[in-house]
């Protein structure tokens, strides 16, 4: 074949030469003509100093400052730039021994002679002031300003989270961070890291052999300014949070409080907890290991991660679903003879009047009533099979936020568990299960798990008569900001508002009703609280006490879920704690000192369950 295009090689050859000439011309300019890049004398060194921005502050919902910054200083050294100096004076200022000095110097040298490394982390402002005056005597050393987190009250550790050094995995992934930088590791510090951190800056200085900064390199042309982080306004009421943590002292469990109208979380208590100041600065890693080794697991965030069977509180759900599906009626009567009996199956119940209607069944927490209701839901003729009816039942629960992460603006939330049709198919064989096979779901036991956050959200949905906003802990990003649009969207659950009234009637009865009502310990004279007790079966020891509630009945201001592990029936501890929280929040002070003392004095440690 004749090569018609052979001449094109000349143009291609020219391309190579043009490319090379462009590069050489540009190099000639920046390396020879342009003097701005030049470091004048050989004994001058460039010293890039990172400008760390102050991290954003965090306020509570009433504008009280809860997290702020305190200045701290890292002393850095570039070994190759050091020369003989008065080490004894140096050590005196820093308060270290000669051995310590040698040790630190060796560490710095073994890291690198030419690059800066931290000689001493987080020296105090006083030491810094002393050092700064005599800095000229210590060539090769310089100070870099950092900030440390400080907390105004020793509470809300899990919620706020902590800040730590970036790990190598992240360094490889995200180019913003450099070794030694701080990053939010948990809580709000992690989920709002990008807003809180601000933007680092760099100043490049020229330094002479005497450790004097001779000015900015290239007139500061390559310097960048640090931009401070954005402040956050949390939805938390820090006083209520503190009160909640106080009530939960010496107990294991969690309190979640939500403002129903907005989905704003007022309180997020997990117990046992720790003082957030423990995980700051030089003491952080040591304290972290101590907390990690602690058998009561203070680092575990029960409010978002612990999944418990909801127990009797779940009867509310089955009542609502039954009403919506039209398979029960508020006036439906079911009898109870100390339990529910079907063939060889028995679900026990306590002794009470019989038969009961829906409102009484909620107030007195009758197991038999809800077994009947649950059976009606699953054996609904409208659906072809129990399995199809089960799918529909599950759909309601998912709409309430069960079985999935709700999407709170905190890391580590867990989804809980609502079994699926295929889960039971695997367990019993395809379609080889009936309503009675899974009857324990009627009373919130069995293969079902919900987090305290999900239960509080359920209380909020009931308070709202069927709708909710995703619970969240930050209401404003920036001084005049707004929450993420994610948290301004209203969700509808598919249960009609009128179906809530009979259930709410029952919840009011549970707290304020006559004999047989299960939660009279939560009663408050001035405000109508609607609530439901529950007991989560615990295969490892004494059962967990649960209480969900909202108040007041009309125009509710607060929705709450309380879990106290190993405390037995829901009425014993969870209900009084919820009642105190509601009183504190709605009236501003607790008058029932006897009840408060009763709660505060009680000690329930996980170890106690063995006895």
């Amino acid at each position: 074949m004749k090569d018609r295009y052979a001449n094109r090689k000349y143009l291609i050859m020219a391309l190579v030469l043009v490319a090379a000439l462009i590069l050489i011309a540009r190099l000639f300019y920046i390396q020879i003509i342009d003097k701005t890049y030049r470091v004048s004398a050989a004994n001058n060194a460039l010293r890039p100093v990172m400008q760390y921005p102050a991290r954003g502050l965090i306020y509570d919902r009433n504008g009280e400052l809860i997290v702020y910054n305190q200045a701290a200083y890292d002393l850095l050294v570039i070994p190759i730039q050091t020369s003989a100096f008065d080490t004894s004076r140096f050590n005196e200022i820093l308060g270290i021994s000669m051995d310590d000095f040698r040790e630190r110097m060796k560490g710095a040298v073994s890291y690198s002679r030419r690059t800066p490394s931290v000689f001493m982390k987080m020296i105090s402002s006083e030491t810094y002031a002393l050092l700064q005056e005599e800095m000229y005597r210590f060539p090769g050393f310089y100070v870099q300003a950092r900030t440390l987190r400080k907390y105004t009250r020793p509470v809300a550790a899990h919620l706020l989270g902590y800040v730590g050094e970036v790990d190598n995995k992240l360094l490889a992934r995200d180019r913003y961070y450099r070794s030694g930088d701080y990053i939010g590791v948990s809580g709000i510090e992690k989920s709002y890291e990008e807003e809180l951190r601000g933007t680092k800056g760099v100043n490049i200085f020229l330094v002479d052999v005497h450790n004097n900064i001779k000015g900015s390199y290239a007139d500061g042309r390559y310097d960048t300014i640090a931009i401070p982080g954005t402040n956050l306004w949390s939805t938390i009421d820090i006083s209520l949070q503190e009160y909640g943590e106080k009530l939960m002292q010496n107990k294991t469990g969690s309190i979640v409080v939500i403002e129903p109208a907005t989905g704003e979380i007022l309180t997020l208590v997990t117990s046992p907890s720790y003082d957030p100041n423990l995980l700051v600065g030089r003491i952080r890693s040591e304290n972290f290991s101590l907390l990690q080794a602690d058998t009561v697991k203070p680092l575990f965030d029960r409010a978002l991660m612990a999944s418990y069977p909801p127990g009797s509180t779940f009867k509310i759900m089955n009542g609502l679903i039954g009403l919506q599906e039209n398979v029960i009626h508020p006036s439906s009567l079911f009898s109870c003879s100390n339990g529910y009996h079907a063939g060889s199956l028995t679900v026990g119940c306590h002794t009470h009047n019989s038969p009961l209607d829906l409102q009484e069944a909620v107030a007195q927490s009758c197991n038999a009533w809800f077994c009947n209701a649950f059976r009606n839901i699953l054996e609904n003729q409208r659906y072809g099979s129990v399995q199809d009816a089960f799918d529909q039942w599950r759909e309601y629960l998912v709409a309430f936020g069960f079985g999935n992460k709700l999407g709170i603006d905190l890391p580590n939330e867990l989804p809980g568990f609502i079994p699926t049709r295929s889960y039971y198919d695997r367990y019993y064989g395809k379609d080889r299960w009936k309503a009675l096979t899974i009857i324990s779901l009627a009373i919130g036991q069995g293969e079902i798990g919900a987090t305290p956050l999900q239960m509080a959200n359920m209380a909020a949905i009931i308070a709202n008569r069927g709708s909710f906003y995703i619970p969240h802990v930050v209401k404003r990003v920036g001084d005049n900001g707004s929450p993420s649009p994610l948290y301004m969207q209203k969700y509808i659950t598919g249960i009609s508002p009128e179906n809530f009234e009979p259930v709410i009637e029952g919840m009011e009865g549970a707290v304020n009703g006559g004999s047989g009502s299960t939660a009279r310990g939560a009663r408050l004279d001035s405000i109508i609280i609607c609530g439901k007790t529950g007991t989560a079966q615990n295969p490892h020891g004494k059962d967990h006490s649960i209480f969900v509630a909202f108040a007041p009945r009309e125009n509710p201001q607060i929705a709450i879920a309380v879990y106290v592990e190993n405390a037995g029936f829901g009425s014993t501890f969870a209900a009084p704690i919820a009642s105190l929280m509601i009183e504190e929040y709605l009236t501003g002070q607790v008058r029932r000192k006897y009840l408060e003392d009763y709660v505060l004095k009680t000690v329930i440690t996980p170890d106690a369950k063995e006895q």
Partner: protein
């Protein structure tokens, strides 16, 4: 086949020597880039220079292996290679490991491989094989499938996403140009890129006016002043009409009005051109109208289709927005280190700026910073000189082939090395935007070194066997 015994006598030793020299210089600079007195052993395998030495050894083994294989192997298995690497590029999207935001790596034990570095080799072979099969070498029936062969792997790599590697695939258009792709395709592409950049930097209106002025000049050069005068009068009249209706009655954007005027003018003008069979003015007109329509499309797409964060990225790349810790920061640090090198450099291992590790990716994409700082202008020119020598040598080798297959493959190798060389060094000194691609044979990393070694030595092997072919 029996001739492979005297392969040593027939391979191009100049290229082999250049290859060796570049690898050694690259390794010395990697050593300098991560240099630390406490790890002075250059064979320390925990350090990057130690590993690079290992990879250079493996590259030499690979080169020998390629040289002893039969040259027909690459000819007959070109499509198998191509299919295999397309498959790997697909797999890496599914089971690959993400590093720096791109799902581009296979992880085998403690070891990571980047299939896109090897896919270039397979693409070069397949493209060469395809062009070799054609009876005539230009025309759409050849160039459209050839472009598809190039773009298929590029699209898969764009999904990772690794835009740097995607850009290098444009190197294969050098092959198509050499094999007869119409010069107008290149003119159009270059114009499209220029218009895109100019309209983003300057805005629509100046570019639209510039296009009209350039069209007038082109008309003047190709067809003389009388015709230009006539065209200008037509344009002035239609322009007046378009401006009156567009501006006063419809409130349109001025760039849109100009386009309307050109369309209107074209309707009058078309009849005139058709009657007189004027080829030059017709081409000028088509380019003018095409350019204006393209300009409006770019503007619309950029502001209405592309997401805001993508706009920011493009803007940063073009230097329109400055992000202190993004691309702009890297470039500044890189400029300081190279600029401070001066004429002779600070001397080997004496670079100060680079030692602060303020230049990111110092041993991989920004290896040229070490060259610039420690060896100065002289060292930089030597490195550029080596690349020019290698590139011209490859051109010479490609041109002495008797088959389209080997020539086209050779041009592919040449194009890839040229593009990497120019973009990589160019980005460290601010001639091109920062695009993360390695400097061939210099940058730290096994995948890139082996990928280029494979490319180069397959070509050397084919070149050594050029007299075996029957044609």
């Amino acid at each position: 086949m029996q001739k492979s015994s005297n392969i040593l006598g027939r391979i191009d030793w100049v290229t082999v020597m250049l290859w060796l020299a570049m690898m050694i210089m690259g390794w010395l600079n990697i050593y300098a880039a991560v240099y630390n007195e406490q790890h002075t052993s250059i064979f320390d395998l925990s350090q990057r220079y130690g590993k690079q030495l290992l990879w250079i050894g493996a590259a030499i083994v690979l080169a020998v292996f390629v040289l002893v294989t039969d040259n027909k192997f690459y000819f007959f298995f070109a499509w198998v290679f191509y299919g295999f690497f397309l498959f790997l590029l697909l797999m890496v999207l599914i089971i690959g490991k993400e590093i720096n935001g791109a799902k581009a790596w296979f992880e085998i034990g403690s070891f990571s491989l980047q299939p896109s570095e090897f896919a270039k080799f397979a693409t070069g072979l397949a493209l060469a094989s395809f062009l070799n099969m054609q009876r005539q070498s230009s025309g759409l029936r050849v160039m459209v499938p050839a472009t598809a062969i190039i773009m298929a792997p590029a699209v898969l790599i764009a999904l990772q996403p690794d835009m740097g590697s995607v850009i290098t695939y444009f190197a294969f258009f050098v092959v198509l140009y050499r094999e007869g792709m119409s010069i107008w395709v290149f003119v159009s592409v270059i114009m499209a890129v220029l218009l895109f950049l100019l309209s983003l930097i300057l805005g629509n209106l100046p570019v639209a006016i510039g296009l009209v002025v350039m069209a007038a000049i082109a008309l003047l050069v190709t067809s003389g002043y009388r015709l230009t005068l006539k065209a200008s009068v037509i344009m002035a009249v239609t322009g007046g009409i378009a401006f009156f209706t567009g501006h006063y009655l419809l409130d349109l954007d001025t760039a849109v009005i100009i386009t309307l005027a050109v369309v209107l003018g074209g309707i009058v003008y078309a009849w005139y051109i058709y009657r007189l069979r004027l080829r030059g003015p017709a081409i000028v007109y088509v380019f003018l109208l095409g350019g204006l329509l393209y300009l409006l499309t770019v503007d619309y797409v950029f502001h209405n289709v592309i997401q805001p964060h993508q706009q920011t990225r493009i803007n940063i790349m073009l230097g329109i927005e400055d992000d202190p810790f993004g691309e702009g920061y890297n470039l500044n640090q890189s400029l300081i280190s190279i600029g401070s090198g001066g004429v002779t450099g600070k001397g080997y291992l004496n670079g100060t700026q680079t030692k602060f590790k303020f230049v990111p990716e110092q041993s991989t994409d920004f290896i040229f910073c070490t060259v610039g700082e420690e060896w100065g202008f002289i060292g930089s020119v030597v490195v550029i000189g080596l690349f020019v020598w290698l590139l011209l040598r490859l051109l010479m080798l490609a041109e002495r082939q008797r088959t389209t297959f080997v020539r086209a493959y050779g041009y592919g190798v040449f194009g890839l090395i040229l593009v990497h060389f120019f973009i990589n060094i160019g980005m460290t000194i601010g001639v091109v935007p920062v695009i993360g691609i390695p400097l061939p044979f210099f940058s730290y990393g096994g995948s890139s070194l082996w990928g280029f070694t494979l490319l180069l030595f397959v070509f050397l092997r084919l070149d050594a066997g050029r007299t075996d072919y029957l044609g």
